[in-house]
Symmetry: C3
Subunit: 417 residues, 3 copies
Amino acid sequence: MHALVERLYPLCRSITGDGVRATLAIVDEYIPLRMHEVPTGTEVLDWTVPREWNIRDAYIADATGRRVVDFAASSLHVLGYSVPVSATMPLAELRPHLHTLPGQPSLVPYRTSYWKPDWGFCLSQETLDAMPDGEYEVRIDSTLADGHLTYAEHVVPGQVAEEVIVSCHVCHPSLANDNLAGVAVAVFLARALAERTPHYTYRFLFAPGTIGAITWLARNAERIDRVEHGLVLACAGDRGSLTYKRSRRGDAEIDRVLRHVLETSGRPHRITEFTPYGYDERQFCSPGFDLGVGSLSRTPYAGYPEYHTSGDDPDFVCPTALEDTLAVCREAFSVLDRNRRYVNLSPYGEPQLGRRGLYDALGGRSDAKEAQMAMLWVLSLADGEHGLLDVAERSGLPFDTVAAAAGALHGAGLVKA
Amino acid sequence: MHALVERLYPLCRSITGDGVRATLAIVDEYIPLRMHEVPTGTEVLDWTVPREWNIRDAYIADATGRRVVDFAASSLHVLGYSVPVSATMPLAELRPHLHTLPGQPSLVPYRTSYWKPDWGFCLSQETLDAMPDGEYEVRIDSTLADGHLTYAEHVVPGQVAEEVIVSCHVCHPSLANDNLAGVAVAVFLARALAERTPHYTYRFLFAPGTIGAITWLARNAERIDRVEHGLVLACAGDRGSLTYKRSRRGDAEIDRVLRHVLETSGRPHRITEFTPYGYDERQFCSPGFDLGVGSLSRTPYAGYPEYHTSGDDPDFVCPTALEDTLAVCREAFSVLDRNRRYVNLSPYGEPQLGRRGLYDALGGRSDAKEAQMAMLWVLSLADGEHGLLDVAERSGLPFDTVAAAAGALHGAGLVKA
Amino acid sequence: MHALVERLYPLCRSITGDGVRATLAIVDEYIPLRMHEVPTGTEVLDWTVPREWNIRDAYIADATGRRVVDFAASSLHVLGYSVPVSATMPLAELRPHLHTLPGQPSLVPYRTSYWKPDWGFCLSQETLDAMPDGEYEVRIDSTLADGHLTYAEHVVPGQVAEEVIVSCHVCHPSLANDNLAGVAVAVFLARALAERTPHYTYRFLFAPGTIGAITWLARNAERIDRVEHGLVLACAGDRGSLTYKRSRRGDAEIDRVLRHVLETSGRPHRITEFTPYGYDERQFCSPGFDLGVGSLSRTPYAGYPEYHTSGDDPDFVCPTALEDTLAVCREAFSVLDRNRRYVNLSPYGEPQLGRRGLYDALGGRSDAKEAQMAMLWVLSLADGEHGLLDVAERSGLPFDTVAAAAGALHGAGLVKA
């Protein structure tokens, strides 16, 4: 996963343009993607697909012709969606177009201006401080023109048509944790899920933030009813502990699954309530949709000093953290896939497990085995209202044990799904 | 407010009679009142309006003719609703008619006998101890005869017909905190609300305790359905911190508003559960009505040593405490008036706030401004089920900020009330 | 009660057979029982009534003819439901049929094999260790043949047909706390309830565990709808504090009653959540029935070292513990019987208690008496939704006070049940 992060890192992504296409082309080498190109001007919900932005070069050169700020060194150096400019101007005139972080003088900030035509450069405060007054050549060789918004899907077919959405934004330029880490975890999660046909159909969405999710939602109105659950992956690779942000509903099944997996795993973690700010859970959880979509991060957005700066580079992303995020996703979807509601077909009194070979025939023992307890719990709660996660939580038994017991009872014809 | 307390203090109020009329006449100088006179014998719910009680003079004079207990000195000295008496008797015979507070020997208690014909005097234990045996002239020049029960209303018209009741009892004689303080706060609250047309119509009720509220309820059966909320003001001016007693429902909107205002204001305060004892919330919250009426006091009834004694005089009431109670009432009704439920008219995905000038167009910033968060929260919860108070509590944002955001969104046509 | 425990102790009970009949015959001397005999092979829910097991003698004798293990000394010595055997065999061959407790070497375990034909002996590890290699005569003079399953009922008729089930298992041989203590408490509870006609009809069930309850449920399908509440009594006499295990519903009325009684009594106690393991609450609470049946024990099953061993003898059962369990049962059923929902017939405003002689007519007093508060609370919550237990819990008043107030109000025609 970390190699994929490193490979994607230099590309200049934005909400449209060739940087996104190049990113998706590389992802397509790992898992086959279906690409979508949506024309500029397409109305998507309350929004309109913007013009496509592409950039070839950008720099600020001093009087000697030396490039003191150079897009070739980092895609962060240009204000995202900058309109083209080619001019020479004194520093005083240039200054309003320069973005720095005075409090983090060695870091370059990440800034964009998607919806207001503007141009600008991002640079470190140290670089700015070293720029003497005088004339500077300023050049941004960009185009902002009718074109397309690009996003891609990858589907892992399941046993049922109901879908789980896994979404990660692909619009940030050279920022590693935000969100190449999420992309990398999504790619390897898709591969892992495909090893065995999952219960649900899993749809992976690689799209620019906000406008990408909105475009997908606008173009998949008929599919939404099939989306039962979802997870937004963002900031998935830093060294902090995991953070799960609940869906707007707060008690959606995905919320309960993630809480269960994080709590029973013993990992340090945080579970936070929904807020209408963050990543694309904002769109999936907007009140008209109100889907059961939560968000998994390690340190959440704006929670680390390197957030939206040049400090969020591949070294900031930790391979074992990526593995840990992936492991939790796999475990969570494994629980989600098995969290079925069963109906006890012999609900009056306990069925005789012994004559079905399900229960140790020797009575009078004081040590009930965990597997036997799991069978009794599944039978007790198999009323069509409780899922196996309810059984696990109420019994305190591991979900795997409960699921195995449900399987044994199903095999014996004592419960139906 | 304190001047009003001092002015009303000497009057001998009871559940009927000229003391109440004189009190209401003074209140009428501040806010115009509609007076109601209900004849003795009128059946009101389970009760009957009693005979009207008036008193001109009362005293106990010793053998020398000196008045050792004199109604002219304090209206507390006579047992409320005393039948007339004119007699001379030895102290031993008089003693069963004398009420004192042995544990607070310098204070005169407040006692009444509304429903059992009786006569008596209230005096300090010290006065009693100084009374030698011997003959005393006892005289109560009172009348208990068919007449009327008096109460008054003042209405601040609102934008809607739904009403908020503000009620305070006016039946206690020379007791300042209980309840001239409540009367004073109610008067100035009515004035403050009238400065700008409120959302709800506010009805102020000045009536004797229990029988007065019961009489109003009996005569306003058709109006009750319009009463959405209410507040009983009692013991509103002592130096203790504020106490809000919930309505019988416990989670009525008024309960949530008061809790929110008290908690977010940082004031020390108590919130207590409903009990069927106290002031006229007993009647408004009786199970047949079950209105959303709570009660605001500083130190609640029977919670201070001066309660129902001559120690509850104007000095016991603190001007800054009256101001503080008034301020909380104003803030609470300001929240109540604005606690509307909105419906997001663009509920699928986030609406584009930027193109409506509602959102800073510069993306990529990690510091979301509070006002922008408030707009996102209102949009997220504007599903017709959550009010703005829900938004404020769930978001942790100040109610004013949330209400302002709702106003901005309403102005932009993104939500409807 | 302890004398009854001692008298029943030596009998060899099992899930069928003459030991149960002899036990019930003794109980019948205390309270009249209706005996039921259900033939082998009868289908009961998912189960089938097994063959009847009877035993006359069993022993292991050494080469000298000395009985080293003798059923006559304790009914625990034989594996319950052992098939007959009469053989001579070396110790090595005998050993797989010998059950001991290596960790408690002086105690004899209790073991059964109801559903798998087997034979065996239970003995102390010390006895086994003292048995030299060599030939042993092994004899179990038992019969396993078509017959009957025996159980009994005792009914205390109430004022209404709705029933409360009190159930205790009678299938364990010489174990005192488990469950002769439960039997003894049930017997004396039935006697106590009969002293005055209770509100509910109380049905006492003396039946073998699991198969007995299942048989009763199978044969009383039409009666189940009348069963409102129930209590399983087990391990009711040891020196530990009381443990109440909730019904599967968790908030059934019986659960609330037991919690209230245990908490307000000041006794140390535990309240545990339902689990589908334990005693016959498993059957009553199976999801098809889901009755409001909890379980009262002192130390719960498997919670004490003597559990299911020869250490659970009459000395292990404490007379004062039996009395204490009985007292809590009586108090709980007294609350249950009186926990009626009343409807306030004068719900608009407070009714005038004074003119009905229900309220001290002297107003202005700050010390409300508890009985008066109880009346006000009952009136306030008499909306047909709250029972008297709700009133007691919400008011903090003793249930007896609340029930007395309800009685007074009922007498005055102010509430109806």
